[in-house]
């Protein structure tokens, strides 16, 4: 009854929520968290597709693991950057970083 489509749609919904968070949140850390949400959605897609379409190859899970690795690295570096920004501007409010405006 529950097939591949359902997993994929779940992935879509999570992705959409994460994208909304990237656009519509002011705190830089919140944006980073939303990015993590998007990556998780993608992972669900990979694993589901791998399990349903090519279970013997194990590609889906392997790819998901690598995505997790990269996401971890990216979170570390991203948060380091946020800390540097905070030291410079005493704020993590993205509205305050608008030097490039007209």
């Amino acid at each position: 009854m529950i097939g591949l489509s359902h997993y994929l749609i779940l992935g879509c919904i999570l992705f959409g929520i994460g994208a909304y968070g990237v656009i519509a949140k002011r705190n830089a850390v919140a944006v980073l968290m939303s990015v993590e949400l998007m990556l998780n959605a993608v992972n669900i897609n990979f694993v589901a597709a791998g399990k349903y379409i090519a279970p013997a190859a194990g590609i889906g899970q392997l790819f998901a693991i690598f995505v997790i690795v990269v996401a971890a690295a990216e979170v570390a570096v991203g948060l380091a950057l946020i800390i540097v920004l905070f030291k410079a501007r005493k704020s993590v409010n993205l509205s305050d970083f608008n030097i490039l405006k007209w």
């Binding site: 489509s5 994460g18 002011r26 669900i44 399990k51 194990g58 997790i68 990269v70 704020s91």
Partner: protein, 169 residues
């Protein structure tokens, strides 16, 4: 409607609710905690799919390490009243437009997924999950594996240097 289906629906619903909590709470710490719940929910989905290894890795890495890292960072950069730390974007136009576009995206993708047919394989998954994955990782995909290791090293070093500030010698 088997038990498996019901459990899928429950876990999926839990995950989606937690995700909504991440983007909705005005308190960033509440957001972070919602994120942890989301990660757990996703791990549950993995177990539902019989991908045990990935699920455990998800819990260990995401819910364990990354969440802690995020909460540390939140604590380091928190400077105002905690209930106002995660306010939505002040520009209402951006939020609405963004919401609309994302809705469009989600609906389109969802519809296209629902109306397409996938080549479902009839094969069964191998029994020994972890060993099978280990064979692949150290066999066919050893190069990405090593590169991932190096990447982690670089990220760690980079993060430290960034956070500490490079000194001119």
């Amino acid at each position: 409607m088997t038990l498996k289906d019901i459990s899928f629906l429950l876990i999926a619903g839990f995950t989606i609710v937690s995700a909504l909590g991440v983007v909705t709470f005005k308190n960033i710490v509440h957001s972070a905690l919602s994120l942890v719940l989301t990660f757990l929910g996703v791990a549950g989905i993995y177990f539902q799919l019989n991908a045990g290894f990935v699920g455990v890795v998800q819990i260990l890495v995401y819910a364990g390490a990354i969440s802690v890292l995020i909460i540390f960072a939140i604590m380091l950069v928190m400077d105002t009243e905690v209930n106002k730390t995660n306010l939505p974007n002040p520009s209402l136009g951006t939020s609405l437009l963004g919401g609309y576009i994302i809705l469009l995206l989600t609906v389109t993708l969802g519809a296209s997924i629902w109306f397409s047919s996938f080549p479902i394989s009839a094969q069964l998954a191998p029994k020994d999950d972890v060993g099978f994955l280990a064979n692949l990782m150290l066999g066919k995909y050893v190069v990405p594996f090593e590169i991932a290791a190096v990447l982690l090293l670089v990220a760690v070093v980079g993060a430290i240097i960034l956070a500490k500030g490079a000194e001119d010698k």
